[in-house]
Each structure stands twice: as C-alpha cells, then as structure tokens.
C-alpha cells in the first residue's frame, strides 16, 4: 500500500477556495458581502479587440509631427454653454463621503491640469472640488443629498443619475463609520448612522416624467447647462433611446466593470452587462434616432489604458469616463501600504472595503489621520500625468490608423480576438470578415 501512487489533491472548480471562503463568511455573519469597486470576474473587454493599423489601403500619420487632435464638446444639443474638453477622458462621479475631501481636491486638480472635467457624486458639492475643478459636473441623484439650487447654478453641467454600471437598479449605503459631522451635515442626517441612497428618484418615474424633470432643471439654470443622463449597462439600446427622448444632451453609459463605493458583491458580479457589450447598442440607438454625435455618448466601466479609450471611441463613443483608474492613479491599492492591507485581511490590488473608511491610502475614508496621508497636490499631479498618458496612447493608436482626430476612429479599424468580443463589438473575428449576428451570413 505504501508504494501505491496517490493522485494530487484536486480542488473543485465549482467549489473553489474563493467560493468556500465566501460560504464560510456567510455562515459566520449571516449577511451578504458588501464591497466597493466593480465586477472582478473576467468578462469580454477591450483587451479582446485589436486595432488593425494602416496598410496598403490607408496611410498612417506621423507620430510627434502630424496633428491628431483630442478635443471634445459635450452638450451641443440644447445647452447654451456646452462643455469644451481638451481630452475625451473625464472623471466619473464619486461622492464626497465615500471619498475624502483631499481626494476630491486631487481629482479636481488633476482633471483641470489635463483640461477635462470632474464630477461630484452623492452627497453634494464640496468647496475642495468646486474650487479646484475648472469644469465640474453636478450629479442629480435619487437621494438628493446636498442638492441645492445655488450649487446647481454654479455647476458646469448636470448629470441626472438613473443607473450605475456596478448596480443597475440598485441604491447604495454609506456606512455609519464614514458619517462624520461634515458628511452628516451635508446630507441632513445624524452622525454615525448608515445612510441609504435610494435606488430611484423620489419625484419622477419613467422617461415621460424625466422629460419634465429635465425641463425643470433647464428652467432653473436658464438653459445654460448641458444635461447628462447616466444609465447603467442594463438595456443600453432602449435606455439610450429613452434618455434622448427625455431630452438629454449627453448620455453617460456605465458598464458592469464600473465601480461603486459600496454594494452587495452579488449585485456587482451578477447584474448588468459588460461595458464592451453596451456600446454598440447605445450607438445604434443614437444612429436610429439621427442623434449620433448630436447627443454625445460618454462610456465608462473598466477604462484603464489609452487603448481602452481609443477602442471605446472607435466603437462610437464621444468620450470616456474613469473612476477606479483615477483612484489608482491617486494612490489607491498602492503596494507601499501592503502591510496595512494585510492587517485588514486584504492585499495590494484586492483591497475593496472602501465603505469601511479604513483605507490605508487615505482616499476612501473620512478618518483625519488617514486622510492626511494623501497630498492633494501630488496626487493631482499623478492624475494629470496618468490622463496625459492615456491621451498620448490614444493618439498613438489613432495616428497608426491614419486619423487626424481621435473621433475619426471607427469600427472598421478593429478586429476581435474572441467570438464573444466579435459579437458584442460587432467587428470581425480576427482573420475573418465575419462576426456573430452579422447580416448576410
């Protein structure tokens, strides 16, 4: 018997160590797991697309010599004062309360230096953010925490949030440990209690009502501000069409990799569609309505590189928006805090308990000592650098495809590495002229 060879212990794919640890955690606590961030599962993404580059039939532009412009104007449909951005990359809405004041300041500094906009989030507008953001989008959320007409008027654009990619159909919860006197005051609630952010707006339901709500917002702000409508990646064709019908100047489309401050893990991982799957239906809706480029499309959810930016634009977006990547640029999940992540039961790159307010990097916290770790000037500079790199990378790819403006990128410049990506992006599988669902096949 001693010499009988044993097979190696075999782990179950179905009951993996991750799965079993979650079962044990659930059995211990009786409550679902809440975390920040977006979907962590592998889903078809921009990595599954490639640019074809120039060839015999089209010629490239000279890097560093021939112009490839990146500017974008958002809000050209109805607003008297559209937003002019130098780059097609904006900073997504993230709340003060979820993020610290210095983190909001850093986002404003970085975005302004790069020539783009930042966005408020649930909890209202802070002076740090308004003061350091040349262009600031003011989110109009179901909770209406901190909502007031003075801030509405001093915003550069208004974003009506209908949904969020991490949790289409869901609200949010800011746990009591992050509700300091300042956060509580802005939200008109007592300190230290969990603050629920509602999943739908309190005074309108459906696109017909939204049209009237948008009318009201325009009347209050003299029709100056571009009105964005943000939707989660659920039913992108119809949601985009209905946002246009309701009068949106800009549609912000957030796929399931888009982050959140805090939501149930089961929600983040199991509701919504990958960003890649959302873009073409949204663009199709705009084209069907004759509104592509008239109503601008901003795509978010898992944008990390200039390649991601370029691919989103090639699929028809006018701009992209980044949230998680911006936080990483500021210093989130930095290896220098590894010892502290381990004390919190996590590790660099995996830390996602943003709702607990114990962020070693001092970004997703209201703890004074932790907040002090983030230098907003330095963090803003890092964000500026990162945005510049994204832009340069995007330009590099656009020039290689012979485009003098990044908006000239088109689906024809792309191929897909997988059947799934080909079907979602509606670009040919590499080496073929076919994608699943293509008419005529």
């Amino acid at each position: 018997m001693e010499n009988t060879p044993n097979t190696l212990p075999r782990q179950s794919w179905t009951f993996s160590n991750d799965t079993n640890s979650e079962i044990r955690r659930a059995a211990d606590t009786g409550i679902y797991d809440i975390r920040g961030g977006g979907a962590k599962r592998r889903v078809p993404h921009f990595d599954d697309l490639l640019f074809l580059g120039a060839s015999m039939s089209r010629y490239p532009l000279e890097g560093y010599r021939e112009k490839c412009t990146t500017s974008v104007t958002l809000g050209t449909r109805f607003a008297k004062k559209p937003i002019e951005l130098d780059i097609p990359i904006t900073i997504a809405g993230m709340s003060f309360g979820s993020l610290s004041g210095p983190a909001k300041e850093a986002l404003g500094r970085g975005a302004t230096m790069a020539g783009t906009s930042t966005t408020t989030g649930d909890g209202g507008m802070t002076e740090e953010e308004r003061g350091h953001s040349e262009k600031l989008v003011y989110q109009y959320l179901p909770s209406r925490y901190g909502m007031n007409p003075d801030d509405l008027r001093r915003a550069d654009a208004i974003e009506v949030v209908v949904g969020q990619g991490a949790k289409p159909g869901g609200g949010g919860m800011l746990l009591g440990q992050k509700i300091t006197e300042r956060v509580a005051g802005m939200r008109c609630l007592p300190e230290g209690i969990d603050q629920r952010s509602a999943c739908r707006h309190p005074d309108w339901t459906g696109p017909d009502d939204l049209e009237i709500k948008i009318l009201e917002l325009r009347e209050i702000t003299n029709w100056e501000k571009p009105i964005y409508v943000k939707i989660g990646g659920a039913r992108p064709y119809y949601d985009t069409a209905l946002a246009v019908k309701a009068g949106a100047d800009v549609v912000v489309l957030d796929g399931m990799q888009g982050g959140t401050a805090a939501t149930q893990d089961v929600f983040i991982e199991h509701v919504g569609q990958p960003t890649l799957a959302c873009i073409r239906p949204a663009v199709q809706a705009l084209q069907d309505l004759g509104m592509h480029r008239e109503v601008q499309l901003v795509v978010s959810g898992g944008i990390r590189t200039g390649a991601d930016v370029a691919k989103a634009l090639a699929l028809g977006a006018d701009a992209v928006s980044i949230g998680t990547a911006a936080l990483v640029a500021l210093g989130d999940n930095d290896p220098k805090w590894e010892a502290e992540y381990q004390k919190l039961g996590s590790t660099t790159g995996a830390y996602d308990d943003w709702h607990e307010g114990r962020d070693p990097a001092g970004i997703t916290t209201q703890d004074a000592d932790l907040m002090a770790r983030l230098d907003p000037t330095e963090a803003g500079r890092r964000l500026r650098n990162y945005l510049n790199v994204l832009t340069l990378e995007c330009q590099t790819l656009a020039r290689a495809c012979g485009k003098s403006h990044v908006h000239n990128l088109e689906p024809e410049d792309l191929c897909a590495l997988t059947m799934e990506a080909a079907a979602m992006a509606q670009v040919p599988l590499a080496g073929t002229n076919w994608y699943p669902g293509k008419p005529g096949f």
């Binding site: 007409p149 939200r187 008109c188 209690i193 969990d194 509602a198 309190p202 009318l215 003299n222 029709w223």
Partner: protein
Amino acid sequence: MSTTLDMAQLDLRAVNTSLQAAAKAQANDEFVIENPRGSHAMACGLDGAIRVTVNGSTGYYCAGMNQEAEITVTGSAGPGVAENMMSGIVTIEGDASQYAGATGHGGLLNIKGNASSRCGISMKGIDIVVHGNIGHMSAFMAQKGNLVVLGDAGDALGDSLYEACLFVRGEVKSLGADCIEKEMRPEHIELLTDLLARAGADAQPQEFKRYGSARRLYNFNIDHAGEY
C-alpha cells in the same frame, strides 16, 4: 406694484425669466400669472423675496427649488410641487399631486386641500402642512423637518423614517417600517402651535398624534432584515 404675466401670450421661458430676474434683483415685486394651463416647472428656481400668485392650476414641479419667494397657486398643483424647496412659502389652495415637497430643505409648503401619495418623501428640513388627507407612503425616508396633516394618512406613513416629525390629527391607515407613535411633549405642542398658526389652520395641537422614527434601522442589523 403687481405685474401680470399671461401665459396665453407668453411661454414658460419668458414667464420664468421675468420671475427669476425679479427675484434675483430682490425687487420684492408682486406677480400674477394668468392662464397657467397646467404648465410644468412654473415659477421654479426663484431666488429672492417676491410674491407670485398663479391663478389656476399647475403641472409638475411648480415652485421647484424655491428660495425666499412666496408663491400661491389658487388651483391645484401637479406632482412634485415645491420639490427641494430651500426657503420661502408655497401655498396651494386646492389639492397637490404626488411627491409634494419632495426632498425639501426648508420653508413652508401649505396645502389647503389634500396631498396624494409620497407627500414629503425624503424631506430634509421643510415644513409641510396639509389641511386635508395625504396618500400612501408619505414621508418615506423623511430625514428632517415637520409634516402636519389635519386629515387622515394613507398606508405606510413614515416608512424608513429618519429624524422628521409627523403630526396627524385623523386616522393613520398604517405605519411604515420603523415609524412609531411618540409622546407629545410640551416642545412638540409649541412647535405644532406655531406651524398651525403659520399655515392658518383651524385646529388645536392637542388633537394631533406625533409619529417618529424608532431608530432601529439606523445601523444595518441582520436581525432586522425582515422589517425592511
């Protein structure tokens, strides 16, 4: 001096532009709106002490986000009247539709008739007085301020209530999650006396019951999951 703006002649933008300019100038002017024809977003975004009388009924979001202005609607108001009001006084002589005073931060919303469902939803400091009845789910997630109802309240009053105070003179069909009846102490009688006087309501504070939050849902507890 009173200025008449006739919506048979002027569109909504022209009317609101006139009102907003006067409010901004702190001109303390008086306006009368004729033929409102149920227009939406009427007299919204006013930021100053002017007086506006709307002769007729309005659509959605009349007096939205009002600051300081005193607005009276002689007819009834559509959904979301005085939504997110910050200050001032809005009076509805008739009835109000859904979401009256939603998310309001301050000021007084005085509804002489009835209010439909979700009156005072997510209110954040506004005072609302309803001389008639209110519909279901009123004061849902109400955070701060006072809702006074001289008539009856529908189902699930004050569901998931935070720190708003609710005073009802008539019957309450049912209370929502975490909403309970509370003792009327002298300070509440005093508060209610003032609110009733400001609203010109013919009622005695002692006739009311007070409802507020049991505060059991303030911090998530799995043992309370069934109450949501």
